[in-house]
Amino acid sequence: MAVLIDKKTKVLVQGITGRTGSFQTKIMKDYGTKIVAGVTPGKGGQEIYGIPIYNFVEEAVAEHDINAAISFVPAKFALDAAYETIDAGIQFMVVTAEGIPNVDILKMIQYGCAKNTKILGPDTPGIISPEKCKMGVHPNRFFKEGNVGVISKSGALSYEVCKSMVEKSVGQSTVVGIGGGPLWGTSQIDVLKLFQEDKETKAIVLLGEIGGTMEEKTAQYIKEHIDKPVVSLIVGRSAPQGKRMGHAGAIIEGKVGTAESKIEILRKCGSIVAKTPEDIPKLLMDVL
């Protein structure tokens, strides 16, 4: 078992012929992900790495059994691409683009909600169930099959932590990148729910960062609904006030969003708080 994706997931890639889309498709396919079709307007009828390309998502869905899509479409066109996937009835979609205007993100999330498509992202590295399926851009060698579920806002931070885990032979059930924010199609709480229900997942790692109040709400949820051990890490302890630290959501405004407040409430709500990624495998081994 894994959450959201597994060996049976059949994936469509939007923007499959672009520079990033084609490069990452090759890596995903080699990793074992079942990529059954790709879409690039104007390139229908061609093939890439043996994967058939269509002009429209609708055409691909008519020809293949598809239950998930990953979009490498750039920010400017990402909303339209999402509409297309949602209208085609695909129920899970990973949106990788960074820099999508907020109004477009709101429309994408709300439209997906109304039509029953779960959106992961935007601005996400995607999701990986190690050795089963990867819909994303993760560097493969930092991940191995195991029983820890990982939730992260940041892509690279999840690589850092999973690298430390794998070095100590601690593997992951699924690693879910929810995206850099400040808007999320899938929240930390949404993923926690899935990990709580997942039999294979024995412990959860929550990787958060400064800015906003998501971790505060998540901490409350952990206290009330999660009985699996949760190890968390909040980065941005040294960030100054009022500066946006890379992610659109990572900014301390007044008293809101500081690392201290997040760490304190996570601790109060029963999470084990790590100081650096290196501590995480050890803390996990203690609870597993």
Binding site: P101, N102, Q110, F142, E160, M245
Partner: protein, 371 residues
């Protein structure tokens, strides 16, 4: 991107939201000439991109020209939360009967725009939210449906202002959507004998939408030299800090982590650039240019754990930078996509790399103390 009050009021006017006609002066303006164009009594409002202006003495009233000139000079000598006053907006003093608060922003939990109203205007809304949350009224707006008349009638009734808010809220919402705003705030909205009037105007534009918001991207370009360089070079993030290590990372989360570790090792970062998702050799080369251009940068720390970023391209960019620029001590941490190729390319040019983030940070901190 925040707008100055006078900029936001120009936009308000364009959308039909009632504002006063004011004039903006700088230190170089002929005060006498400017003041002969206004009707007294007047209000002098410092134009700064920060809140708490009233509390800091940044708003003054004047009955006469002489009084006005003296107060203008006082304002230009003022700093509000480290922001020097460089412009003043002069308006006629309004005759206010009652003030309320109105804004539209994004509810990040519900993923929708939200209209916020409060019967008390001209106050710190966060303070009210903390002390008297029941006074704050909210309408979550369906992004596909927009605002409805009945919801606004309900709000007007609860606010007990006897005015129809439909017109002004509709205009605010249209402006919010069309300008890709993250915040449109009128605090206060005044009720006067002549009807409703936006006394203050605050707008924050979504930086990610500037590509399709020409007016605002033009304004932004004029503002900040370093940010201009950042834009020009296509970097995702550049943050000024006050130490001596120039940090480049290929992700925001890992960047913040690295800053924390630098701190833990007793070092301090001078600045921080994050490359973002879509990168090539030029992206890192340009990031190195921008980060090393700050004079107090003694050592560059480049930390890569690429998923989307390809290490062959990162190596190519790093090598290209050193061919064009004077040498500067550099510590490179490299792992991730195509790392074998990237590391080999760097080794051939005589650059060491490490996989280990802690080792890299430690080395950079040591170098920064030695240089």
């Amino acid at each position: 991107m925040k707008l100055y009050e006078f900029e936001a009021k120009k936009i308000f006017k364009k959308y039909g939201i009632p504002v006063l006609n004011g004039i903006v002066i700088t230190k170089d303006t002929d005060f006498d000439g400017a003041l002969s164009m206004v009707t007294f009594p007047i209000v002098l409002k410092s134009q700064v991109l920060t809140g708490g202006r009233g509390m800091a003495g940044g708003i003054k009233f004047a009955e006469t020209k002489g009084e006005a000139v003296a107060k203008i000079q006082e304002l230009f000598a003022l700093k509000i939360k480290k922001h020097p006053v460089e412009m003043i907006l002069i308006e006629k003093k309004a005759n206010i009967k009652k003030e309320i608060y109105l804004s539209i922003t994004i509810n990040k939990e519900k993923n929708c725009p939200v209209l916020i109203a409060c019967p008390e205007g001209g106050v710190d809304i966060e303070h009210i939210a903390e002390k008297n949350p029941e006074k704050i009224l909210e309408i979550e707006i369906d992004i596909f449906r927009g605002l409805t008349g009945y919801e606004l009638r309900q709000i007007a009734k609860k606010l007990d202002i006897g005015h129809n808010l439909f017109d002004i809220c509709k205009k605010m919402y249209t402006l919010f959507m069309e300008c890709d705003a993250n915040l449109v705030e009128i605090n206060p909205l005044a009720i006067t004998d002549e009807g409703l009037l936006a006394i203050d105007a605050k707008m924050v534009i979504d930086d990610k939408a500037l590509y399709r918001q020409k007016i605002f991207s033009e304004i932004e370009k004029k503002r900040d030299q370093i940010q201009k360089m950042v834009k020009q070079y296509g970097l995702s993030t550049y943050v000024e800090l006050d130490g001596d290590i120039g940090l480049i990372s290929d992700g925001a989360g890992t960047g913040m982590l690295t800053l924390d570790i630098i701190n833990d090792y007793g070092g301090k970062a001078a600045n921080f650039s994050e490359l973002g998702g879509v990168t090539n050799a030029d992206t890192i080369k340009n990031a190195m240019k921008v980060v090393s251009s700050k004079t107090n940068v003694k050592v560059l720390l480049i930390s890569m754990i690429g998923g989307l970023n390809r290490m062959d391209e990162m190596a190519e960019g790093i090598i290209a930078f050193f061919k064009e620029h004077d040498p500067i001590p550099v510590v490179i941490r490299m792992c991730g996509t195509l790392e074998e190729i990237g590391k080999k390319m760097l080794q051939e040019e005589g650059f060491d790399t490490t996989d280990d983030l802690y080792e890299a940070v430690q080395k950079a901190v040591e170098l920064s103390k030695r240089c």
